[in-house]
Amino acid sequence: MKKIKLIPFLLCFLLLSGCWSSREISRLSIVLGIGFEKTEDGNVEVIAQVAVPSNISSKNGSSSGDKNFINYVVKEENIFDAVQGTTNKSASKLSLSHNILILIGRKAAEDGIYKYMDFFIREHEIRLNTPIVVVDGEMDEVLKISSEILKVPCEYINTLIDIQGKSVGGGKVRLLDFMNHLQLETCGYLLPMVRIDEKSDPPALVLDQTAVFLSDKMVGTITIDTFRGAMFVNDKVEGGAVIVGEDDKTIGFKLDSSKTKISVNTDDDKVNIEIKITTNVHVHIDSENRIKTEGMDKTKKELEDKIREQVQNAIDIAKVQGVDFFHFGEEVYKKNPTYWKNIKNDWGEIFKGIQPTIKVECKIEDIGLLLETALKKREE
């Protein structure tokens, strides 16, 4: 009997809490991407791209007038006020838990990004696997461009980064990677950079450059070829093609896998670095029948030289910029921490002087479904 009397009281306690901390899904703004940029007058501009679910998920396909997303742009003195401002503007709570992209404006990047990124690192709703991208140009304009299939710009950019990862090298930097990069001894790292492709119509976005960061400041850019070389060193190449040969006598190789091993030797009080790249490839294009006529070994040699050249180029450019985005310094630190302590402060100079040995070993596993070219030339 006493127990039964207790039940209404217990029920009251349940009801007293109400629906505490509940948020109705219909009153929520699903943020897909959030970006910041430094304005002319030194304030911060925050852009939040919010999805319009009813247009995205409508079965009939949204008519051209209906937008799939809304960009809220707010300029404030600090990033917290700016994010709060977007909440006020959208008149609903921003849900950052589905955020798929963090965008950094180029001006903010050149100025130093940590004071902004601190907000994202501390915010509990943001996932640690959210990719980060640098935006070259007006962020507001970039966040208006989408493709036919991916109708939300943030998803579009995200997919571009993924595609680049498959074809060139895994340049994707997630929030967690970014935090790790900030802890690096050598302080240098790369972030993908997106810009509007002016030549394309309808407007499209490209990732043809990569931003080079030293600590939390952007110090320059590298081209896609240099990036490829850097990815070979960083062991982040998953696939893509390597073309060798001049003009119309080219052979196209497609990479099946690539493995890089960096070994460091500091015995003679000098940093000696050896980069060993092992790749498996298969022939993709050989219209001139070069493999048959010149032999497998020769073409293999050519391919190895080509990769070595790419890597050497990347290292040369890094030396010019003075940023060790290959993390060689990390390898030295891992190999010999006491030695690293001594040279740590001079690493910028030492890095400019190092001459890594690059060894490339390719294995042609397959020449496709043809033994030799299918085109029979008529004897003249």
């Binding site: 349940l14 009801l15 809490s17 109400g18 629906c19 505490w20 901390s21 509940s22 948020r23 109705e24 899904i25 219909s26 929520l28 699903i30 897909l32 999805a51 679910p53 009813s54 995205i56 998920s57 409508s58 849900s95 838990s97 589905h98 798929i100 709703e125 996932r127």
Partner: protein, 519 residues
């Protein structure tokens, strides 16, 4: 306060009984008189002039005899052939009642009694009572002949492969159906009469050397303790003998099929049969029994195992699908993948109610539809289902009342509830509780709810055996017949706990090797 009220109410009823008691009530130990006229007078008075109570007096030989029976309960052919015909052709006078039985009555089922109350019960249950002037004994001859349903396909426990006969309302047929499955001398049948006025026949069946004697004693005692005026169905007995009546979960099982009842008796359980009910109770009942179907044992073990997993899955879906949907939509948005988030947000955007209210409305609507579908006459039922499907499924969504994913969640909840019919009633309440918890506290509430019910289930006992047996307390050999159904030749022992003295079901035999030798 409450006690006073109870006293008042019970007082009213007892005094009411006295008002009706103008007619003569026959006590249990009243004996017959030697004078036939007096006996007739008493019986007529006690029946109070009911028109279906027939008293027929005949003179045969030198004796004066009387028959008592209830019109409609007897088979007149039996009465004529077995009683009237031989008794009308008597030549000598009857010395004693044994004399009458031995020489003249060709009926196979005969009982002699000197108590008037037993005689009353005899003709009230369809027998004919014969009294002879000058003898203080009466004979009860079986002339039962009332209409019963024939043994056919039961409505519940239906199987694709397996026996199709089902119990009927007649207890004697039901005991015979079980006897036919187990032709063993140690299969015992004990009978009771429950209900002061209904005098319903109740029987328990068990195997003497398999069932736990303590269990039999416990059930026997509980049935004897029942003091109620009438019993109409085995559901009455089920509620009176249940060990934990406050619990949502049934601790007594029921079945409509003799093969299930026989299998449970073989495992050491006790079957309780009630006259007038096609449902046979089995006790004790464990949680796992709800997920076992007789068909599991008639088909390939792998197929049976996959069915078991489906049943467990649908049990959890039926309880948790809706609460989880509510929790994700109101508390844990980050748990939904982005594309699902779009769909949910898009469909919830235009609806007027919060998600939890929507869920409660939908589940109540479903319960209404289900209840009306069960109760309504069959031709109307179709109309109800059309209205239900159209109004709830289609129009509510197009009108923007209810979100489409909610309809899906409710539909899967409803459909999976029917997979485990024995738990269905508990599941309805469980679902409401979980829905309330998830609506107020989200995933945290669901966790609390699950923990609470797990605690309750582990503490629950059915006739002394832990309800979650073989899971908690864990028993490896019993696990062979839970989530998986191992091949029959590996199920060597009966479920532990049920039987003390005879746990072994079969000897271990390598049947696959024997086969190879033959080939």
């Amino acid at each position: 306060m409450l006690e006073k009220f109870v006293k008042k109410v019970t007082g009213y009823f007892t005094s009411h009984d006295h008002l009706n008691g103008k007619d003569i009530l026959i006590d249990d130990d009243v004996k017959m008189s030697k004078k036939l006229d007096k006996n007739i007078e008493i019986l007529k008075a006690s029946m109070g002039g009911s028109v279906d109570f027939i008293v027929r007096e005949i003179n045969s030989g030198d004796s004066k005899l009387a028959f008592f029976y209830i019109d409609g309960l007897i088979d007149s052919m039996k009465l004529e052939q077995n009683i009237l015909k031989p008794l009308l052709s008597l030549e000598n006078s009857i010395e004693s009642i044994e004399d009458l039985v031995r020489k003249y009555l060709p009926s196979s089922e005969i009982k002699i009694t000197e108590k008037l109350s037993e005689a009353c019960q005899g003709f009230l249950s369809g027998d004919t009572v014969i009294m002879v002037n000058g003898i203080s004994n009466s004979v009860i001859v079986n002339t039962k002949g009332y209409e019963t349903r024939s043994v056919n396909d039961p409505q519940t426990d239906s199987v694709i492969k397996g026996p199709r006969e089902g119990f009927i309302e007649n207890i004697r047929t039901n005991t015979a159906l079980i006897r036919r499955k187990i032709k063993d001398t140690s299969l015992r049948l004990e009978s009771f009469t429950v209900g002061e006025r209904s005098k319903t026949a109740v029987a328990i069946m068990y195997i003497k050397d398999v069932a736990n004697p303590e269990l039999i004693k416990k059930i026997r005692d509980k049935i004897n303790e029942i003091e109620v005026d009438a019993i109409y169905d085995s559901g009455y007995i089920q509620q009176y003998i249940e060990c934990n009546p406050g619990s949502l979960f049934d601790t007594v099982g029921y079945t409509e099929k003799p093969d299930i009842a026989a299998a449970k008796i073989m495992e050491g359980r006790v079957a309780i049969l009630v006259d007038g009910s096609p449902f046979v109770l089995t006790a004790p009942m464990l949680f796992i029994e709800s997920f076992q179907s007789p068909e599991d044992y008639y088909i390939h073990p792998a197929a049976a195992t996959s069915l078991r997993i489906v049943r467990f899955l649908s049990y959890f879906i039926s309880i948790l699908a809706l609460p989880l949907y509510v929790a994700i939509a109101t508390f844990h948005h980050e748990m939904a993948p982005l594309s699902l988030m779009y769909t949910m947000a898009a469909s919830e955007a235009d609806t007027p109610f919060p998600v939890v209210i929507e869920a409660v409305l939908m589940i109540i609507t479903f319960e209404i539809l289900k209840e009306s579908g069960v109760r309504l006459p069959k031709p109307v039922g179709q109309a109800v289902s059309i209205v239900g499907a159209l109004v709830i499924g289609e129009s509510a969504v197009t009108a923007g009342f209810i979100a489409a994913p909610m309809v899906i969640a409710v539909a899967i909840t409803a459909v999976s509830a029917f997979v485990i019919p024995t738990q269905a009633n508990a599941m309805v309440l469980l679902r409401y509780i979980m829905l309330f918890l998830s609506g107020t506290m989200g995933g945290f509430g669901i966790t609390i709810g699950i923990l609470f019910f797990l605690m309750h289930l582990t503490s629950l006992r059915s006739f002394g055996i832990p309800y979650l047996s073989s899971f908690a307390p864990y028993n490896t050999s019993d696990m062979k017949d839970t989530l998986i159904r191992a091949p029959l030749y590996t199920l060597l022992t009966r479920p532990s706990g049920l039987t003390r003295n005879n746990p072994r079901r079969q000897k271990f035999k390598k049947i696959w090797e024997n086969k190879n030798e033959k080939n």
